[in-house]
Symmetry: C2
Subunit: 200 residues, 2 copies
């Protein structure tokens, strides 16, 4: 038999949450964001970004932690790697910047697990694909999604301008309108995992 990889998921209530100083978005519009991306590309080449799928459970169903900006836009915690930075180390750095208290001895135990999806941006545009399209020899961004295994108890410090939401898989599934193509297909990418739901 083929063995499914296991993810232990703990109740949302076993985690505690506080706030910290705001982490403002670097860009105020999509056009600004794409212009900055182009500038960085000319200096550093293809952008590599890493994002985390952090899982908790409620009512025995897996939920994903998403950061909400304003009232509608949701994103996975993560961000852009520095040129040459190791993916796993870079993701830990980004997770601490987005979700950890400032004190170095209060960092969650980020256990970076499986890479579950890779998305490519062929042009300086918002559209991404889960493959590098044919005839694209110089993609502009490669974004990798990792499952991050959480310990049973952790303290998260959420920037004051963001909200941290636990969103059930059934809410993400088939909901590209609300969550976009990357986040709305996370349920499919996690389907091969076996969730070991640990109650509180």
């Amino acid at each position: 038999m083929v063995v499914s990889p296991v993810v232990n998921t703990y109740p949302l209530s076993s985690y505690s949450f506080g706030t910290k100083e705001p982490k403002m978005e670097k860009d105020t519009s999509v056009a600004d964001r794409l212009a900055r991306m182009k500038l960085n590309y000319m200096k550093e080449g293809m952008r590599t970004s890493v994002e985390a799928i952090l899982l908790v459970q409620e009512h025995n169903h897996p939920h994903i932690l998403l950061l909400q900006i304003g009232n509608t836009f949701c994103k996975l915690p993560g961000g852009r790697l520095k040129p040459g930075e190791n993916e796993v180390e870079g993701l830990k750095r980004k997770l601490s910047s987005k979700l950890a208290a400032n004190s170095p001895n209060m960092q969650p135990n980020w256990q970076i697990g499986e890479c579950v999806a890779v998305w490519w941006r062929p042009n300086f545009e918002t559209i991404m694909y889960p493959y590098c399209p044919p005839h694209i020899s110089k993609p502009k961004e490669c974004k990798k999604l990792y499952v991050v295994h959480l310990s049973e108890r952790e303290y998260f410090a959420v920037p004051k301008n963001l909200k941290l939401l636990a969103v059930p898989l059934f809410e993400l599934y088939d909901n590209v309108q609300r969550y976009g193509p990357v986040i709305s297909t996370i349920p499919q990418q996690l389907s091969r995992f076996q969730f070991n739901m640990i109650s509180g």
Copy 2:
């Protein structure tokens, strides 16, 4: 660094194709299919089915082999396991039944690889989900998709009532209307793989 699993893909032209006797569908309508499913469930419990993602390349882009029935409906090769049957052995049996010549010494070398997706059918209905929905304690079917690694050269015998198509990932992506929810998200599920495109 996290290492991506590798799939060697060979050109479509390195495979040869013939035909064999028709393999008719067991049911002539969706209603018949669901009725037979219900009957089998009462006898044998939850149905487990296994399907194969067979990859080839053309123009350096991965393509998936799909069986087309009539002019529109496409499916992955595979099928229902016998009660208690091993998944890997069952998938090999189904692949040979659908795609191999009848002679036992002409069987392709089916190398069953990674399970990339698991879909659940909560009720005797057509809709499936990439998770077992909350409050469903007795799902009716569990369908697992496996990557099957093909050798460089093989001979496939296609039942006369079916057509074997090599469909590029870019055609499947975001095309739920044509391919349905399971097949249209295969590009996302394969995105974490590194394709080693071997030319002819």
